[in-house]
């Protein structure tokens, strides 16, 4: 009897122990779950849902039937969609490299400053932290056809955002004004990481300023430059806000970009399934670009 009782106690202890260890093993999930459950609900599920919706003719409330690849067939023949892809590509072309080069130029100008450095830094960076609607206000006021200070200064009557040829470059210019500050900061950090001794040693060897720039600054800044380029590439593919506010895709659809086309199809025409198909195409483009970006991020981080 005693033995049985003992073994029962022992078994109870074992059971309690395994319960406790199970609890201990699952306790970390208490840290993970608040974020991860929201993540599953508001990111993972919609991501999978985009794939399914693209195979349906759902309206924007989600009511519809399975239609197979019909949306994709429509999409591939949809002139407006391909035009929006080309316009997005054009915008990417107008912003990614110019914005990166501009950031690099500003960084070069700012790092060598001894006085006014904080002030100059703030001047270039401040636009970046403004809401896009304020950027829009600044743009339509400064570039106003009749009373804008730029047109007064140029003595012209240019309607920057109503001209089919000028609209996209104007939006790109506003975008660069708005966001170049971030690129500048990243380049400044990169420039400050280059050891000063390299420049001193090169100067002792008789290298001129231009040679030092070409042989030291350029190669050593390249990791940061490639990071900025990829961040820009991903960001600019997602162009929506500025276009929505400044041109609404016009004039004559000359600035209709992919996300705005998705917004029109989904939220204004109620074609949820078709909008999901457009979104899926954009995701595919961006995932390819992001994978490249992630590799670069990892390459950059290993030496640290």
């Amino acid at each position: 009897m005693e033995n049985v009782a003992l073994s029962n106690v022992g078994r109870k202890a074992v059971v309690q122990g395994s319960k406790r260890s199970l609890r201990r093993r699952l306790a970390p999930w208490l840290f993970v779950l608040p974020f991860f459950s929201l993540y599953l609900l508001f990111l993972a599920y919609p991501a999978l849902r985009v794939g399914y919706l693209s195979l349906t003719n759902s309206d924007i409330a989600g009511q519809g039937n399975f239609v197979g690849a019909a949306n994709f067939l429509t999409l591939f023949q949809d002139q407006d969609f391909w035009a929006s892809v080309i316009h997005t590509g054009y915008f990417v072309l107008l912003t990614v490299v110019p914005n990166t080069l501009m950031g690099f130029l500003l960084a070069l100008l700012v790092v060598r400053l001894k006085r006014f450095k904080l002030f100059v830094l703030a001047c270039f960076f401040l636009p970046y932290i403004l809401p896009v609607s304020v950027v829009y206000d600044a743009a339509i006021w400064v570039l106003d056809t009749n009373f804008g200070i730029v047109n007064l200064f140029l003595g012209s009557n240019t309607s920057w955002f109503q001209d089919p040829v000028l609209a996209m470059p104007a939006v790109a210019g506003v975008t660069i004004w708005w966001t170049v500050g971030l690129n500048m900061l990243l380049f400044i950090a990169g420039l400050q990481n280059i050891p000063q001794e390299y420049y001193e040693a090169a100067a002792l060897d008789g290298a001129g300023a231009f040679q030092r720039f070409l042989r030291i600054t350029c190669p050593l800044i390249w990791p940061v430059a490639s990071l900025v380029l990829l961040l820009q590439l991903i960001l600019q593919f997602k162009i929506f806000d500025q276009i929505y506010l400044l041109t609404l895709g016009g004039p004559f659809n000359s600035t209709m970009v992919v996300l705005l086309y998705m917004y029109r199809q989904g939220f204004q025409q109620g074609r949820g399934g078709y909008a999901a198909t457009i979104a899926l195409m954009l995701v595919l483009i961006i995932i390819v670009v992001s994978l490249i970006q992630f590799r670069v991020l990892r390459i950059r981080r290993t030496p640290q």
Binding site: F31, G62, L126, V142, L245
Partner: protein, 276 residues
């Protein structure tokens, strides 16, 4: 001779930089002073660059004739709530991924990395449908909940926690501290700067978010500042003094945050971009 030539070149570069900086900030200066002009003064040619005395009529007009204060309160509520929960949950998740061993850890981390690459705007359609299904369109919950999920914050916190020497955790464990205490009493204080930086960047980002409020709100009282402003522009047309006044009011919180916490904002945006 040579050094003198260089100092002339240096002076030229400095002057050029200053001119560029002033040109860059000019649009912000211009909307600020336009907001202090009367509507008639805004279209006087040549324009005055220092309007004196300042005229606050357009501010009064905007605040009296539009739901600007309501939008302001909406945006403060949304931004503060999103920032608090987004940072808290990211800290907890980042700590677990960095310091704790548990079944499913790899799966969680990999899926967060994948989530980081997904563009939020491309998920807007199914997200809208889901919130519509739960009757959360045009609600604070609909505005706030999806914005709390920022996979990048988790990744940043995990990386910073990875760099904390293990001795600190071991010592705390020997002292009998549990993981909650270790996170909030050891790891959080040690990474206070980056937490603060990420909070400020999240706050600015949420305040400025245009796309999501545009999609999920559909009635005037529920709008946030960036979307509400566009309604004012539609209503006022070419009333530039009033438009500029709304722009100034809308920029005050983020601009003030930047000017007060310049260093933390810089640290935050760099961490978000992938530079420590």
């Amino acid at each position: 001779m040579k050094s003198k030539r260089f100092s002339v070149l240096g002076l030229f570069c400095t002057l050029f930089t200053l001119v560029m900086a002033l040109a860059w900030i000019f649009p912000i200066y211009w909307i600020t002073i336009t907001s202090l002009k009367s509507e008639d003064q805004t279209i006087v040619v040549p324009p005055s660059f220092i309007p004196w005395p300042p005229n606050f009529d357009s501010f009064v007009y905007v605040l009296q004739t539009s739901p600007f204060i309501r939008w302001y309160l909406n945006t403060i509520f949304v931004s503060v709530t999103v920032t608090f929960f987004s940072i808290l949950f990211a800290l907890m998740c980042g700590y677990a991924l960095s310091q704790l061993q548990f079944p499913g850890r790899k799966v969680v981390y990999t899926s967060i990395l994948v989530g980081f690459m997904l563009p939020f705007s491309a998920l807007a359609v199914p997200l809208f449908m889901m919130l519509n299904h739960f009757k959360l369109v045009n609600s604070f919950a609909g505005l706030i909940l999806p914005q709390i999920v920022v996979p990048l914050s988790v990744i940043v916190f995990k990386q910073f926690f990875d760099d904390v020497p293990r001795d600190f955790r071991d010592a705390a464990l020997i002292d009998g501290a549990n993981n909650w205490r270790i996170l909030f009493r050891v790891y959080l204080p040690m990474n206070w700067n980056i937490t603060w930086a990420m909070s400020i960047v999240t706050f600015i980002g949420t305040w400025n978010n245009f796309f999501w409020p545009l999609i999920i709100t559909n009635s005037t009282p529920m709008l946030t500042i960036p979307v509400g402003m566009t309604q004012i522009q539609l209503a006022y047309g070419v009333q530039f003094a009033e438009i500029c006044a709304t722009a100034v009011l809308a920029s005050i919180p983020t601009a003030a945050t930047y000017i007060l916490f310049q260093k933390r904002v810089t640290q935050g945006v760099m961490a978000v971009a992938g530079l420590k």
